[in-house]
């Protein structure tokens, strides 16, 4: 089947609009006739799933705000009001709280897919960087959202994380006071976190727009890691990938619904059902699961400032991936050694996540340090070295040839 045809219309109304603002042809170009590689596998579903989660979080969040009160004496009770008295309030809150976890599940898989298939390589560096910016914004949004119910873990998590800025030399103390809006995490902190938690998702939307703009300029990468050479390599986004994304979304929604309806508190911490109390410190202050690998890296460094730098560096280093990996071949499918290094990296991330949930004592400190060193070694030593000496397997001539066989009119 021939690929995408440009937008055409006989409607006078649409022609009138198009002559003034080509919005309909733009949407058509992005979601209907967009030429997508014909060989995308299911790992390419996670981009649209991330978009779905962003919208789901904004919709549930906006309704929750109609019932929530951002004040230290009322916040916790207002969340209970949502759970007990608001119609389907329990559904909204559980969908939003578990939705944050689902968003991170989807985005982590999306990022790992990019790492496996070399999606960060030229000409998609900006696309990759915008993705990391979205990831950073998500982390900030999720962190501030977790503070809003004003439970024990909200309060102490906020205290621990904001205190990290105190590690900065000279200005650290002043910065922390400025962030708090006072001399401890208190009402001023809760209010500004609420304000920013409402703002940042819309900033994310804007960056997602840029991310998609860059995507539609360079076109999607694909499991073979070779560029689109002509129409025979692509299929129009609609109906092919709209149908595939709808199927993927249905499966994903069942996974999401399992947590919301049958295990809604498993991903949270019981301490957050106790109202914040500045006089009582919880036995273990643990962040949400999606921050655990970075929390482990933070704690692996004995020096506070060093830990903060390492934790920040763990994300910043992703920006350099297009240059740390200079192999000519994109996809790990044709890179036998990089493929193994990728899976070791995934295992290392899981170990870091586990260590992050454990108390910082005994064997966990040693494992955490080894795993942290390996995390950075993967980017700084292993990936560049593999790009240097690895002999990639032969890459197919074209997507169409690989998918349809030699019969394709290439």
């Amino acid at each position: 089947m021939s690929s995408s045809t440009p937008f055409q219309t006989n409607s006078k109304v649409i022609k009138w609009i198009e002559a003034r603002l080509p919005i309909i042809s733009t949407i058509d170009g992005a979601l209907v006739s967009y030429p997508a590689p014909r060989n995308l596998n299911y790992w390419w579903n996670f981009g649209s799933l991330a978009g779905f989660m962003l919208v789901a979080q904004i919709v549930t969040g906006i309704i929750l705000v109609m019932h929530y009160t951002p004040h230290v004496t009322l916040a916790f009770a207002s969340v209970e009001h949502i759970m007990r008295d608001v119609n389907y309030g329990w559904l909204l809150r559980y969908a939003h709280a578990n939705g944050a976890s689902m968003f991170f599940v989807v985005v982590y898989i999306h990022i790992l897919r990019g790492l496996y298939y070399g999606s960060y390589k030229a000409p998609r560096e900006l696309l990759w960087w915008l993705g990391i910016v979205i990831f950073l914004l998500m982390m900030a949004t999720a962190f501030m959202g977790y503070v809003l119910p004003w439970g024990q873990m909200s309060f102490w998590g906020a205290t621990v994380i904001t205190n990290l800025f105190g590690a900065l030399p000279m200005i650290g103390g002043d910065i922390v006071t400025w962030l708090w809006g006072g001399f401890s995490v208190d009402n001023a902190t809760l209010n500004r976190f609420f304000s920013l938690h409402y703002l940042l998702p819309f900033v994310i939307c804007a960056v997602v727009f840029l991310h998609l703009w860059a995507l539609h300029t360079t076109k999607s990468s694909n499991p073979l890691g070779i560029e689109i050479k002509g129409d025979q390599d692509t299929v129009p986004f609609h109906p092919y990938y709209t149908a595939k994304d709808a199927f993927g979304l249905s499966v994903f929604l069942m996974f999401f619904a399992y947590w919301v309806f049958f295990n809604p508190n498993a991903l949270g911490h019981p301490d957050n059902y106790t109202e914040a109390n500045p006089m009582v410190t919880p036995a273990h202050i643990v962040p949400e699961w999606y921050f655990l690998p970075f929390y482990a890296i933070l704690r692996a460094v004995p020096d506070k400032l060093g830990g903060v730098i390492a934790m920040g560096g763990a994300i910043v280093i992703l920006f350099f991936m297009p240059y740390l990996d200079f192999s000519k071949v994109r996809s790990a499918k044709f890179r036998p050694i990089y493929k193994q290094a990728f899976w070791l990296f995934v295992i290392d991330g899981l170990i870091l996540g586990y260590v992050g949930a454990m108390p910082a004592e005994g064997i966990w400190i040693i494992i955490g340090r080894i795993a942290s060193v390996y995390y950075f070694a993967h980017f700084i030593i292993i990936v560049p070295l593999i790009s240097w000496f690895e002999k990639p397997l032969p890459v197919p001539e074209s997507i169409a040839k690989a998918v349809l066989g030699d019969a394709a009119k290439a």
Binding site: M1, R38, A77, E80, M83, R84, W90, L91, Y94, S101, V105, Y108, I109, L112, Y116, V235, P239, Y240, A243, K244, A246, F247, L249, S250, V251, L253, M254, A257, Y258, V260, F261, F262, P264, N265, A266, L267, P270, D271, Y273, T274, A283, H284, V286, E288, W289, Y290, L292, W343, V346, L350, G353, Y354, G356, A357, M358, P359, V403, L404
Partner: protein, 254 residues
């Protein structure tokens, strides 16, 4: 490819599991087969009412339950008239016609009466320890209702060599083993209206059930909705898959 999928499954399982994993400081907590467990779980109404009786006659002398109103008791099978009568046993602050402070009988919409006016009074009456509010206790402790049941059955002789501070009791389940709450339940402490024998085991199960309901009153609604949602999504998955298979055939030529 299969290793890829396996890896992804492991990523989810471990990654999600790690967030929940935590050090359990207490003794072994037995997992009971609660009627509200599982996808089709519901609360045992008789156990809820017995549990409320235990709460009212025993726990409520020290523990508040400030997120519950008397009207909520209609959800566990009390009639409107019974709830009205229950509420009327308590006085709540109000203003009289002259604007002077007075008290009136509590209405069903009022919150559960708290045993102490404030935290200072609560601590003063309990040797410095604060009896926690019980509204959410079944969600605020690792193990939930299992923990509550184990804790109430966890009072034992202080072992030789254990330095028990003054005014504390020895409990094998409580973290640190020295608990501020004296053993609250003993056999036949309450007389159940339905004739059930009030053993410590029975009362602790009933009150744990009641506290789980108090912490998660929409549990039954949630699970019922969940079953329907899953059924709907199952069908949707079949239809979206069939749709996808059809366009894939057309577009990919195989």
């Amino acid at each position: 490819m299969s290793s890829f999928k396996l890896g992804a499954a492991a990523l989810l399982a471990l990654g999600l599991g790690a967030g929940v994993a935590q050090a359990n400081e207490g003794a072994h907590i037995e997992k009971l087969d609660w009627s509200f467990n599982g996808a089709f779980g519901t609360f045992d109404r008789a156990a809820l009412q017995r549990g409320y009786q235990v709460y009212k006659e025993v726990c409520a002398s020290c523990h508040s339950m400030k997120y519950l109103s008397y009207r909520n008791l209609q959800d566990i099978g009390f009639s409107e008239a019974e709830v009205k009568a229950l509420a009327a046993q308590y006085e709540v602050p109000a203003l009289d016609e002259a604007g002077d402070p007075t008290t009136v009988k509590a209405k069903p919409s009022d919150r559960f009466h708290s045993p102490f006016p404030n935290e200072v009074a609560a601590r003063a009456a309990n040797g410095g320890a604060l009896p926690p509010d019980l509204s959410l206790i079944a969600k605020a402790r690792v193990g939930g209702p299992d923990y509550i049941h184990a804790l109430l059955n966890g009072y034992h002789e202080t072992p030789a060599g254990f330095a028990l501070p003054d005014g504390k009791s020895y409990n094998t389940v409580f973290p640190g083993n020295a608990i501020g709450m004296p053993k609250p339940l003993s056999d036949d402490q309450v007389t159940y209206a339905d004739g059930t024998k009030a053993t410590v085991e029975q009362m602790s199960r009933d009150v744990a059930t009641f506290l789980m309901w108090a912490a998660e009153p929409k549990l039954e609604d949630r699970k019922r909705a969940g079953v329907k949602v899953m059924g709907f999504l199952g069908l949707l998955t079949i239809f979206t898959f069939l749709t996808y298979r059809k366009v894939r055939r057309k577009v990919q030529g195989h």
